[in-house]
């Protein structure tokens, strides 16, 4: 005797019926929510698409319509992407930005994951970026760091912070686990102190207070000081994430490695770190996402990152009424990058089999 025959056939209609309209109460609630969802989508489409103005320089049409004014984006998108970079030279900023994205994308490919391939790739990437953005060589006009801006600046800060911060985080995590108590305790103190300070105040200190304290030769440009400060902040958080990954390993593994006569560096490099990273992958991706989004804090020290550029783009006599549209556009840019990042994280998790042990 088979029970299968008693159940209705598993069609989409039946499935939906079973899920959403099983009882009269279910049906009412489902219908209400469906109507609400349709209404929201409809008003959104009405605003964003049907009644929207898309063409460049159509302020008057914008003032007349009820819908969104995408004209502000099509007129002033270059400010969002390039900030205050000189108008005729913006192609350089565009190429530099693409180079950074390509390098970041390449280093996500497993083939590049080796000490012989990854560092040259990033050094080349940063060198091309710097030469293109800064100029002063090969007949390119010089553009100082304070005029960098927009998406290129955001990506540059993010890449530089991650690349400086990650090795630093590993060093911090290892020092914190040191067998010598004074090293471990000092490191713990440093990490906890930096973690207890707001990122904003760290950036402000590095950008503005440092020049009063440092000797002249060590000052450098504000941009690089901020990156160093931010990288330090990143490293302290990431160090704790890595330490968490390390502590999840059974102590027996390291002891077994010791018993086999492996040196410290072999134990760390072949046994501990690879597994620690695998354990710590989800929070690490999380940390990268947060870091990307918090780059917009550099606006407090006068940098034109994507966010500040967006505000400048809608903040003039002509377009001041269209701030919402500009924020939506900036949000879309952030979404593209952060969503890609989190999808890549999900791919890595599948590949490394995190959560499948």
């Amino acid at each position: 005797m088979s029970f299968a025959a008693d159940f209705p056939k598993d069609s989409a209609f039946n499935k939906a019926k079973a899920r959403y309209f099983a009882t009269p109460t279910d049906a009412v609630v489902s219908a209400l929510f469906a109507a609400f969802a349709v209404w929201i989508l409809w008003s959104l489409a009405n605003w964003a698409l049907l009644h929207a103005v898309f063409g460049a320089n159509q302020r008057d049409a914008c003032m007349a319509t009820e819908g969104a004014c995408w004209s502000v984006v099509s007129t002033r998108w270059r400010i969002v992407l390039f900030g205050l970079y000189p108008f005729e030279e913006q192609w350089r900023s565009a190429i530099a930005c693409v180079v950074m994205v390509v390098v970041a994308a390449l280093s996500c490919v497993p083939w590049f994951w080796s000490a012989r391939r990854l560092p040259p790739l990033w050094i080349a990437g940063f060198a091309i970026f710097y030469v293109l953005m800064r100029g002063g060589w090969f007949g390119l006009r010089e553009v100082t760091e304070q005029n960098w801006g927009g998406l290129s600046l955001t990506i540059f800060i993010f890449a530089a912070v991650s690349l400086l911060g990650m090795p630093l985080a590993i060093v911090f995590a290892l020092l914190r686990r040191s067998d010598l108590p004074w090293i471990a305790r000092t490191m713990a103190l440093v990490i906890d102190v930096i973690r207890s300070l707001p990122l904003l105040s760290i950036m402000f200190t590095f950008a503005i207070v440092m020049p009063f304290v440092l000797p002249d030769w060590a000052i450098g440009d504000k941009l690089y000081r901020v990156i160093v400060g931010y990288a330090l902040f990143f490293a302290c958080y990431q160090a704790e994430i890595i330490r968490g990954g390390m502590q999840a390993l059974p102590a027996g593994q390291e002891e077994a490695a010791k018993a086999l006569g492996l040196t410290y560096w072999h134990r760390i490099g072949y046994i501990v770190l690879p597994q620690a990273f695998r354990n710590a992958l989800p929070p690490t991706i999380n940390q990268f996402v947060i870091t990307f989004k918090e780059t917009s804090l550099v606006t407090i020290i006068g940098f034109f990152d994507v966010m500040a550029s967006g505000r400048a783009a809608s903040g003039n006599a002509d377009w001041n009424f269209a701030t919402i549209e500009m924020y939506v556009f900036v949000a879309l840019i952030f979404f593209v990058f952060v969503f890609t990042l989190s999808r890549y994280g999900a791919y890595l998790e599948r590949r490394l089999g995190v959560g499948r042990r």
């Binding site: 270059r78 205050l84 100082t144 504000k222 500040a308 903040g315 001041n320």
Partner: protein
């Protein structure tokens, strides 16, 4: 004992000599630094501030503050192109950036307050703009002054100096109006646009912007002439730098002097060729003295006027009738036009 005495002497001498060296550095005017550098570093904005520092479609700065930076650079170096760098800075960054030398002067709609003047070691030039708190009202109500809103309602941002100013003004003028407060600027504007109140109080340039952006058009709103309170915006330089401060004051005075004497960017060449008076001759650098006393070239005022025009031109282009804001000049005009500003005497 003898050794200790010797150490004490040596250290005293060291301290004394370091103080002398310090005094010399402080005596170096920022004016000299800027001239040696060949470039003026002026304050910009991290984003925009309507009418004072905005970014055009090509990413170039414009606005009242930016024009004053241009005037200063033109006065120092003949023209601003290549000699002016607008450094984007945030509000919080203004004072440290000035002290550390990231910028040479703060021209960033900054009000003259006692604590800034005394505790922060800053020196203010004479004000170049008076930021008035005014009331905007629906034109359909036909109000001419704030007194006409007696018995009505007025919207204001909560917990701000504008709220305090409104309360005081209503009390002293014995106007009975209901005051509605809102947490932020957007809420405030929307409440006013939706006619939940008859009038709205804000800083005049912001009011002008809200008027332009009104959904029912700018003509449906009037800015009433009553001034509830005001803030004087000046140019800020480090304290104890008289030479640099003099340049700021005389730059502003020159812009008003040009306006009072009808000298504009369009006719300055003509007037320089046929100066109507000995004073104007001197002012435009035909006869020596006007620039030299400040450590500048004698035709520095001419260079400024040539590039940005007089104060009226700067105002009209950025806030007044030549701009979208169309903000009447009011108290920001010359004394002869009913304002509070005046040029200093050129002798």
């Amino acid at each position: 004992m003898k050794l200790a005495l010797k150490a004490l002497l040596v250290s005293t001498a060291l301290v004394a000599s370091s103080q002398v060296a310090h005094a010399q550095v402080a005596g170096d005017s920022r004016l000299k630094t800027v001239q040696d550098r060949g470039k003026l570093l002026c304050s910009g904005h991290n984003g925009s501030f309507l009418g004072f520092a905005e970014v055009d479609d090509q990413g170039n700065w414009k606005g009242v503050d930016i024009d004053l930076c241009k005037a200063l650079a033109a006065g120092l170096f003949g023209k601003s192109e290549g000699a002016l760098e607008i450094v984007p800075i945030s509000w919080a960054q203004r004072w440290p950036a000035l002290q550390s030398g990231d910028i040479d002067a703060v021209i960033k709609v900054s009000g003259w307050t006692q604590s800034r003047d005394t505790e922060l070691n800053l020196a203010y030039s004479q004000p170049y703009f008076i930021g008035a708190f005014q009331v905007m009202s629906h034109a359909s109500l036909g109000a001419q002054t704030l007194a006409d809103l007696d018995g009505g309602s007025i919207c204001v941002a909560a917990g701000t100096s504008t709220e305090r100013a409104l309360a005081t003004y209503l009390e002293t003028k014995a106007i009975q109006a209901e005051v509605l407060t809102f947490e932020n600027g957007d809420e405030l504007r929307n409440a006013y646009y939706e006619a939940r109140c008859d009038g709205m109080v804000e800083w005049a340039p912001s009011l002008a912007a809200s008027r332009v952006d009104a959904p029912d058009g700018a003509d449906a709103h009037t800015i009433l002439p009553d001034v509830l309170d005001l803030e004087a915006e000046g140019i800020i330089v480090p304290e104890n730098d008289a030479d640099w401060l003099d340049v700021q004051n005389w730059m502003l005075s020159s812009l008003w002097f040009a306006e009072a004497n009808g000298i504009t960017s369009a006719n300055v060449d003509e007037i320089k060729a046929n100066p109507p008076s000995a004073t104007i001759e001197k002012f435009l650098g035909v006869t020596p003295g006007y620039g030299e006393r400040l450590g500048l070239s004698d035709d520095w005022a001419y260079n400024m006027i040539k590039e940005v025009g007089n104060m009226a031109e700067i105002y009209d282009r950025n806030l007044g009738s030549g701009s979208r804001y169309n903000l009447p000049r009011g108290i920001n005009a010359l004394y002869s036009d009913g304002g509070v500003f005046y040029p200093l005497i050129v002798d």
